[in-house]
Symmetry: D2
Subunit: 344 residues, 4 copies
């Protein structure tokens, strides 16, 4: 089968790879119908996240089950399915506490040996371990484009809102309107939050946020702090979501949150940085961080996608054939796309 | 001023009463613009809830603050406000745990000496104790009809959904589509629940539920249990809300809930009754009951009303002048109305 | 190997059975060192819970791992282990929400085909499915007698306290001082609850409760309602635990709980019964029911047993050899024992 | 009456002040029997927290009610009471969400005009606003020394454990064994946590921690990270409490916490500082900060003190008469005392 492999920073190749085989009774094989390119794929593309040369990349996918081990009960051969971006063992200390994203034996698709040696899904076929965890049937009426958000980007948006403790009627600010931020804004609106203030400096993204029911605020042309103060009786928002992963975004989130509020730092942090702990302390904030527990959220996300309460369609800006993956990554790297869907 | 007073079962009168005066620094006086008739007013009307002859009734209201004590900080003279149906002290054991609806010194409008001796709001003016607790400004753009739901019926719907632990994407069944059930259904939808199955045997009410985004199911002509099983992978709903207050409704709610699910019995119970504890035990259910903690929810409810995420307008079927209150109660008693708004 | 088998109500037999073999990579085989007799075994003994003639019974156990499949990572051959009373799949809808006790594929040791066809542990050896879920290493210094409580009775006590939402300093009443009630009382004390009022009519059990730090109250010779009122400023307890499973116990628990409090009905219910929903409603109570989620609690219970914060030793009244199982059940049935430990 | 007043950094004076008078129906007057010196008093003493010259200081107190306004219901004239370190209004946005420590109208005893202009309690008498919030009866059998911890230091320890989401059987590390850290360690043990690892570099404090049931670990002579790894199966603790308020303590707390664990930064932060957000992100931590919500916890803390589950007596190292306050602060400043109790 054909697969998109990492060769070196900014160098990908479409290569022939052996078709995957079931290795355990918990595995399934999925014939890929669509696979998305995600912001975290760019970390590999740039070489910041290091993986082996020749490793197949990609972790967002929709496809059809072609084989399944005896222990696979939640999907069956022939089912149209979507995948979560990683598998989890279901029995370790962390899985037993529902922290599937911190599973001691988690394996992430397309992230090399360090994260479990699980070949990626930008390929014609994929081996899916712990299929009961990792796969879900695509509800009738949900398109490939929509479904592949459930196991990664929309799950991440859901995670941000859930970790933020957002209740219907609460106020929310989302900082950074990439795909994750836009999904977080859409979910916050769909969860009854109000107002949901969406902050960025790119006009198109602000426009998408507006179409999702959020209040768009330009980071520099508007005054986010004053607008939020005015919209919340001077208090600040109940929950501020940093979907950027930059100390300035975190700092702004800390300033936008009300006393005893919550800041969710869902954007990626890799280094130490300056945090205004004096503000965090005097405001008695809660800060929650980390990537998303999509396995913990996927059923609920699918339910909302099926109902149309969520619809990430506007985020899909490009469809390209699998063989154009190298070009697709270059387009994505130039920030010309929000979500590119590759089709084998 | 004129006030609607209880005289005897099914006998009300419009009487002249002295205008209320501030009694404490925490009090406000409100000139009533609109007051609703509520299901619990019927209990008084029928004589099931006993109050003194001559006592002013009514507990849903919107109006304008005409006087306020020195400790009143959340509203001011001239503000257009809505009221919660009861006041709370803010400092007792229960208030300190956020259970304002179980305040040791709560006073309910229009419910006689037993519940605090606080004259009702179906009058031209009302004394409002603990105004910081009881009153909120009506957001701009929110009509009287909409606002007066915030402090009672919509707050009760919110309570049912909140107590039910409903999370975005969860499945919900609402049994009984009176005003409270319809509000609960609307809030469940607005909170991202899906599906929200609304069950009743009155076609008009089912139609309102459908317009709110719920899935209408006829109690007897459809098969609620089978439909819910089909809609939830055979499991039952995450949360079942009994908005009726009858053992049969509770029993159905228990049967509709999934294993480890939640049943919220928001309908009024006054007596012992048969409950299938065997089912409750084997399904490991949580049952939550009691009237609503509207003071705990009112800010969030108002935020959703202001955003248009909630809109109870379709529930207001009648507007009548205050002097027609006796006729209005008769109409309501004949179940010809969902919500009647009285205007002085 | 030898095993205790059910033949007919009140008729058990020690029979020869084939030694169990690994059936899956997730299985382990345990050589049993000790197995307890539990109240739920009596339901089988009496024929109320129906199982096949010849089926091996028992579900509380401590032993040594003699074989383990490739997927077993949390224990290893040679480990001294204790078992939970059931296994769980780790991947179904309910396991993914942490409700392991409601797993769609749960198998209960020694409860016949209906509950998974898993032979019991009152035997010389046992097959343990999903060993990562079901087994834990016994911490050094923890005796067999203590350890075998972790996977059933003490886990049930923990469940009652956890479901009750008990926080340090909260007041708790425990109704019924069988092994589960006594464990619940001990855990409530160890969790910082105060006062913990323990109610029964058997002097010896009250004495054990007193030794656990609880306040013993005789059901009929004392006045539980008055004593609890006096101890809680007239309010009632924050959490009332019904460890009996009888409508009168549930009714008393409802009366002992404070407004907005919690009742945990951990005792077994099988039938519909009278519940004073009027009281439940007016007090705005939460009722939680069902058997215990021991897999969800076992790590924490073990940690407390290891620290000596919990010590169920006083509950072990009898040690008997496996071959005396028929006599042991007769003793237990005559209520002459709190916990009997069988040793092969 | 006599009162201890701030004059300038490191300069206090015992001055004559007019006796306080009731100003509102919610006020009480307390004749002070004992008042503690607290770490936050030192911030004033050092001039880091600026207050007016001549302002009376102190905020921990036990005494007797000598006058009470008409709205005061939870205590009465003649009652022996303890006080919380601040009052709260009970009706603002934050109080209604239970965040009494972030009350919009909170007043802190002895902290100058900026924090409400409320004279301190290191005096012979004190005006206590919102007495229903601020005062509680001292349970029979609880000494002054013990009781005055309830409204500040022990309440802060309780807050740390509660915010940390500590459940019975969870592992906890406490960094910094000043009075707050020692109280946090004692509460964690009393709440059933195990192990509770207490880290400091002062032998005496480690010894007190050991007497409280914690595992003492020397910050530099032992290896906290290795010891905790060994004690938690290599994972790290469920909850790490930074009771120091220094970036190095916070950094260590972040390293000691397990994946998906919680860090509570209860120590005081006033400035921005370096935080390893990369670690926070990859471990998916929750960080909670801020001073304590003692009004939210005081009933439960008192219940535990009354039961003897908590006993801070070993922390009281000095008793001194009020007139020796200047000397007492000098002793405290030289770190020769854990808790000094002043008596008028």
């Amino acid at each position: 089968m054909r697969a998109v492999t990492f060769q070196a920073p900014r160098e990908l190749r479409l290569q022939e790879r052996p078709s995957p085989q079931l290795e355990s009774r918990a595995d399934a094989i999925v014939r890929i119908d669509a696979s998305g390119i995600c912001g975290s794929d760019l970390h590999i593309y740039h070489g910041r996240v290091k993986i082996e040369a020749g490793f197949t990349i990609g972790h967002e996918f929709v496809g059809t089950v072609t084989a399944a081990g005896d222990d696979v009960t939640r999907v069956a051969v022939g089912d149209r399915v979507l995948g979560c971006y990683h598998s989890a063992c279901g029995t370790c200390f962390f899985c037993l506490r529902g922290a599937y994203h911190k599973c001691d034996r988690m394996r992430v698709f397309g992230h090399g040996q360090l994260l479990g040696g699980l070949p990626g899904t930008q390929a014609e076929e994929a081996l899916v371990p712990m299929a009961n965890m990792t796969l879900r049937r695509v509800p009738a009426g949900v398109s490939d484009d929509v479904a592949l958000f459930a196991g990664d980007v929309m799950g991440t948006g859901y995670h941000a809102v859930a970790e933020g403790g957002v209740r219907p009627g609460d106020s929310v600010a989302v900082l950074g309107l990439g795909p994750v931020g836009l999904c977080a804004a859409q979910i916050a609106v769909a969860a009854g939050a109000s107002p949901v203030v969406a902050i960025d400096s790119v006009a198109d993204r602000l426009e998408v946020a507006r179409s999702f029911g959020a209040v768009p605020v330009h980071l520099t042309e508007d005054s986010p702090r004053e607008l939020i103060r005015a919209a919340t009786g001077g208090r600040g928002v109940d929950t501020a979501i940093d979907a950027v992963g930059h100390p300035e975004a975190l700092d702004l989130a800390i300033r936008l949150a009300r006393k005893a509020g919550t800041v969710v730092a869902i954007g990626v942090y890799a280094e130490p940085c300056q945090v205004h702990m004096g503000l965090v302390w005097i405001k008695a904030l809660t800060i929650k961080s980390g990537h998303a527990n999509v396995i913990g959220h996927v059923d609920r996300v699918l339910s909302m996608l099926e109902a149309g309460a969520l619809d990430p369609t506007p985020l899909v800006t490009h469809h390209m054939p699998l063989e154009d993956a190298p070009e697709a990554y270059a387009v994505y790297d130039r920030r010309e796309a929000l979500k590119i869907v590759l089709r084998p």
